[in-house]
């Protein structure tokens, strides 16, 4: 996979992940162009299209478009399900995820994506494994937080 984008119906980019380096300028241009193409498509149209030298696989979930650019040889249907699996992961983590969750916890959306995909390839397809990794991280986080408040208390005292 070359890159993955999440954007809203209004054309606001919510998440971008690039698996092959390009310049910021080029990225912005690609995002603009692709958003335009995808947003112009009607519902019920097919989820795949040719774009530049890539294949684009996209799917809309409520107000958000999930959009992956893959290479000519890659499998479109499994990419579609990869998007779905990512949505499931977000859903499980946030508890019926909505666009606002992704806006306010953008860093988490990135962490979950990183656990799931790496270098544009799927790292683990098991929902359990991925969520376990994220939850472990959260656990570490909470442990981290507590000493801080203790210190604070001490400071106060």
């Amino acid at each position: 996979m070359r890159f993955m984008l999440l954007f809203s119906r209004q054309g606001k980019l919510r998440l971008q992940k690039w698996y092959l380096a390009s310049s910021e300028k080029e990225k912005k241009k690609m995002v603009r162009e692709l958003m335009q193409v995808v947003l112009a498509r009607k519902p019920k149209m097919c989820s795949f299209l040719e774009w530049r030298d890539l294949k684009v696989v996209y799917k809309r979930y409520a107000s958000l478009y999930f959009c992956c650019a893959i290479e000519g040889q890659d499998n479109e249907l499994i990419t579609l399900e990869l998007i779905h699996r990512y949505v499931e992961l977000l859903d499980k983590y946030f508890g019926s995820v909505c666009e606002l969750d992704i806006i306010f916890n953008f860093e988490k959306a990135y962490f979950i994506l990183d656990e799931f995909l790496m270098g544009g390839e799927i790292q683990d397809t098991s929902k359990k494994s991925v969520l376990k990794a994220i939850e472990q991280a959260d656990l570490l986080q909470e442990e981290d937080e507590s000493p801080r408040s203790v210190l604070e208390e001490m400071g106060l005292a």
Binding site: A21, L77, I78, A137, Q141, E145
Partner: protein, 939 residues
Amino acid sequence: MPAVSKGDGMRGLAVFISDIRNCKSKEAEIKRINKELANIRSKFKGDKALDGYSKKKYVCKLLFIFLLGHDIDFGHMEAVNLLSSNRYTEKQIGYLFISVLVNSNSELIRLINNAIKNDLASRNPTFMGLALHCIANVGSREMAEAFAGEIPKILVAGDTMDSVKQSAALCLLRLYRTSPDFVPMGDWTSRVVHLLNDQHLGVVTAATSLITTLAQKNPEEFKTSVSLAVSRLSRIVTSASTDLQDYTYYFVPAPWLSVKLLRLLQCYPPPEDAAVRGRLTECLETILNKAQEPPKSKKVQHSNAKNAVLFEAISLIIHHDSEPNLLVRACNQLGQFLQHRETNLRYLALESMCTLASSEFSHEAVKTHIETVINALKTERDVSVRQRAVDLLYAMCDRSNAQQIVAEMLNYLETADYSIREEIVLKVAILAEKYAVDYTWYVDTILNLIRIAGDYVSEEVWYRVIQIVINRDDVQGYAAKTVFEALQAPACHENLVKVGGYILGEFGNLIAGDPRSSPLIQFNLLHSKFHLCSVPTRALLLSTYIKFVNLFPEIKTTIQDVLRSDSQLKNADVELQQRAVEYLRLSTIASTDILATVLEEMPPFPERESSILAKLKKKKGPGTVTDLEEIKKERNSDVNGGTESTPVNASTVSTPSPSADLLGLGAAPLTSSAPPPSTTGSLLVDVFSDSASVVAPLAPGSEDNFARFVCKNNGVLFENQLLQIGLKSEFRQNLGRMFIFYGNKTSTQFLNFTPTLICSDELQSSLNLQTKPVDPTVDGGAQVQQVVNIECISDFMEAPILNIQFRYGGTFQNISVKLPITLNKFFQPTEMASQDFFQRWKQLSNPQQEMQNIFKAKHPMDTEITKAKIIGFGSALLEEVDPNPANFVGAGIIHTKTTQIGCLLRLEPNLQAQMYRLTLRTSKETVSQRLCELLSEQF
């Protein structure tokens, strides 16, 4: 604002995000952001040391601002500091920031690499995971250089945790994609292959991705993966849907892994081992059988996952192209999908069938679906699906159905989407020419194309129809009659006027006997269009008129009157004026005989690649068209073979004969295939001549400039008053990359700017060059860049030629220079001691291995300069090796894809005589010869 759900609450961040969301205008947003940036900057600069939490919070805010699309120019240092925090959450944000925002600030890279190194060595799986993710996310060459050696060790170490193994495999894959030269092959590769047997399916999935990527470039090294992949696949497809627990996705067992294994197998031919092969066939049959079973779930995820595996299996079947039974079954399955209610499946079925159409086993089976595909063209509501249908019709076309398919495409063209019209026009033109039995059909088809979609008929298409008419005398009369009739329409496309003008000018006499198309009527008809046409078309028509003077002396005076009119003789356009003046003079002073000679019928055109095909190839990317054509060429070996028996002057072009190189690949491998520049000045006479595409002789000084680049990689290669060509290049082992910079030194645009790399057939087999065409317009004062990727397959003697053609003002420029890609660029220096050197020197004592040259010094004999040149040449300079300190010796290895060639060299200067003696010893004669040639020019 929703409650922040889990983990840490960075409240300040949430407040900030919500402020931004509440901004009513872009200006308000920018104002709020600037306020925040000022705040963060002061915090970072303030005297009070920030605690980790605050640092994390601010870095996270910066990241958010960046992701909104604003530039961030500070905070990198603070992010790097977070990397060395012991708190997971701080480290994690630090890594995220670096992953998203890293730039090539070398100072920073060093610090980041240090932090990564520490985390990799920490043996803490969570930290190792973060570090590996960061490497994969950044994926730069610097990272590859620093870590590509280490990661394979982590990957195959016995005590590495599964999750770290997964990350390590994909991290390595990412580095291999950008910097394959830094990833050393070695013992680890066989252990990676065995990961296919791992118990943990997540590890197997990640490893399969890695192996597939590596196997594409090093098939030999990973050959053993085939049988392991087959047995793994077999275990998955035969397992019950619950066996694999969490790896079952909507009742489909491990769909991702199955797809990946099937992809891996596509790197190889069918397994040789009969048992493995049998097992694989069984797997593929099982997958095909499952497609017929009732679905285990109504959910679309179930059918998508199942079909993803099915399509990948079909891809493998097509790739092997060896089991007729499987191919036909695959075709039938796709046939079912063609009528499926899911648009996605119809789309994929059309796409997949395109490749099936090119297999001899399934071509006929694909053809049975023609009606469904035609129907798709008419009824699909999504243009991308219709596009696939056009592609498939093109792929399944052969002699038996060409008339039907062409008719349907023409039909569709009337309402086709603008975005795909040009492509359809090209396809129709190609099919009509290729499968024409009766050339009247061909002429009708092309004229129809012009009528229906004149604006989309490119020059190539109408050039081609004229070429064919000129070369086939059996169709000339018909063509003249048909264009004459088509021109009767009150509004006809300018392209038709062009074709009509040209054809009547050549063959108008063939229909002049009919009083309805007498010479005067023909002339009046054409001239009635004259004033509506653009300058190039008018110029063409003027040439038609002078041809008429020769064909029809009876209307000479009428034509002379027209040429003599003020609107011609005093036309503001120089080209038109000149033609009018010259043609008028010619018609007045030349005798009938001279006129007849000057204005003789055009000779047949030499046989060549259809320029239309070249154009389609360019549009679609070479791969797609090539494959189909190549295969069709074989299958239709008798198609249009008839042309060979036609009279001599007709046999030359007509259709590409099956034996000809259809794509002309041999002739011009890397042409960017620009259309011949249409100069108004030469439309009639040399519209097809090679003048534009002929390669100019080498520019003066090119040889000298070339020699200057033998020992260096950067500099100016060519310069004249208009154009400067600069080069920057880098080489590593057998690979290289060259940046060519074309600078327009004038203030006027260059048009049709077309640089082309030309390799002789021989050079082409040893040197692989890849590049993309550049923008055909170069503005005044602007510079454009072209990247050439270079791969040295085997040693070579010649150098590629860089030919540049463009239009500057009214003139056509054609420049050729030698491109300094020389064998010594693929040198890797080798250090060795004196004893080793002479031992090897002796081993290479065979006369073919040595090459010697004694020559006069062309430059002052300066020791330091000579040393620099030998190093620049690419070999190592070995000090204190030669007993005579005045001599220079060097050693290195030439890397080609196929072999590595060890090279030793010795240069003995003679100051008194101002001479040198250069000796090269290598294990290959041609290498010694070439290196000696190249280096001799340097001193």
